[in-house]
Amino acid sequence: MAKKTEIAPPETWVDRYGDYLYGFAMSRLRNPDAAHDCVQDTFLAAIKALDRFDGSRDIKFWLRGIMRNKIVDQIRRSIKENKVDIQAEDEALIESFWFKYSGIATTNPDPWQFNPRKHYDNSEFWVIFDRCIQQVKEPARQAFILRVLEDLSTEEVCKVMNISSNYLWVLLHRARSQLKTLIEANWTGSDAK
């Protein structure tokens, strides 16, 4: 019984966790309607599964875990509709000497134009970062969300996206490069270029 009292009652979930979950969904789905539906599906699935929640952690993290499955499902559906085809330049990268020899894309990447580490405690930096994630091009963005933000293993992401692990590596490389360029272009802090 004591366990039950620790769980926020479902009628308070929207006020307590609605915006929290909506923020996650917007970062990943970009579309307000899709994000709203994702929050809704998460709450409805949670109501059905509530008797399986053991109260061992904050319920918002449990709700977040349910939302993770919803987001992965949504990305899986969108990939089924628009199959991920390997681009010629990506194929060339996988076939390149440096990738085959040492698993890298280039020996000499452009350095950052400012030091992002200095801004990790600045919430404005993360707002910019969040906006930049949404501008990364598909399918690199989808790969980034699944592998980095949702923490799926390499094997799981390859299965969801129906791609090879080499191509996943290339897509994550693209996502990192685009994010770097976007952050450099959008950051307006005192040390911006």
Binding site: P10, E11, W13, V14, D15, G18, D19, Y20, Y22, G23, F24, M26, S27, A35, H36, V39, Q40, F43, L44, I47, K48, F61, R64, W98, Y101, S102, G103, I104, A105, T106, T107, N108, P109, W112, P116, R117, Y120, S123, W126, V127, F129, D130, V148, L149, S153, T154, S165, W169, L172, R176, L179, K180
Partner: protein, 101 residues
């Protein structure tokens, strides 16, 4: 020397970073990896940038998990709609469970 944990090849470093974040690797492997990227003229700069990116992404996820940075909020009407749906789902759930009691 593939069996020597201190002598990693560039490919081993790249593959390790593809499967795990640097901070999640065992201490010995982290040390060997750091030594490699600091000294390697081939993969050093590239893999150091990957390590920095991983650190940045981890920090973003911490921020995100704390719910501090988001500029997205549900509109009032959306919240009301969600509350109604939640209420209906709870009622349906308790009706379903009632005959079992």
């Amino acid at each position: 020397m593939p069996n020597n944990p201190f002598m990693l090849t560039c490919k081993q470093v790249s593959e390790a970073l593809a499967h795990k974040n640097y901070s999640e690797l065992p201490r010995l492997k982290r040390w060997a990896l750091l030594l490699h990227v600091k000294l390697c003229p081939i993969c050093g700069k590239f893999n150091q940038q990957i390590m920095r990116s991983q650190e940045m992404f981890s920090r973003y996820k911490e921020q995100e998990s704390s719910g501090l940075h988001s500029e997205h909020n549900l509109e009032r009407a959306s919240k009301e709609q969600l509350k109604k749906q939640l209420q209906q789902a709870m009622e349906a759930q308790s009706k379903q469970q009632a005959p079992e009691r």
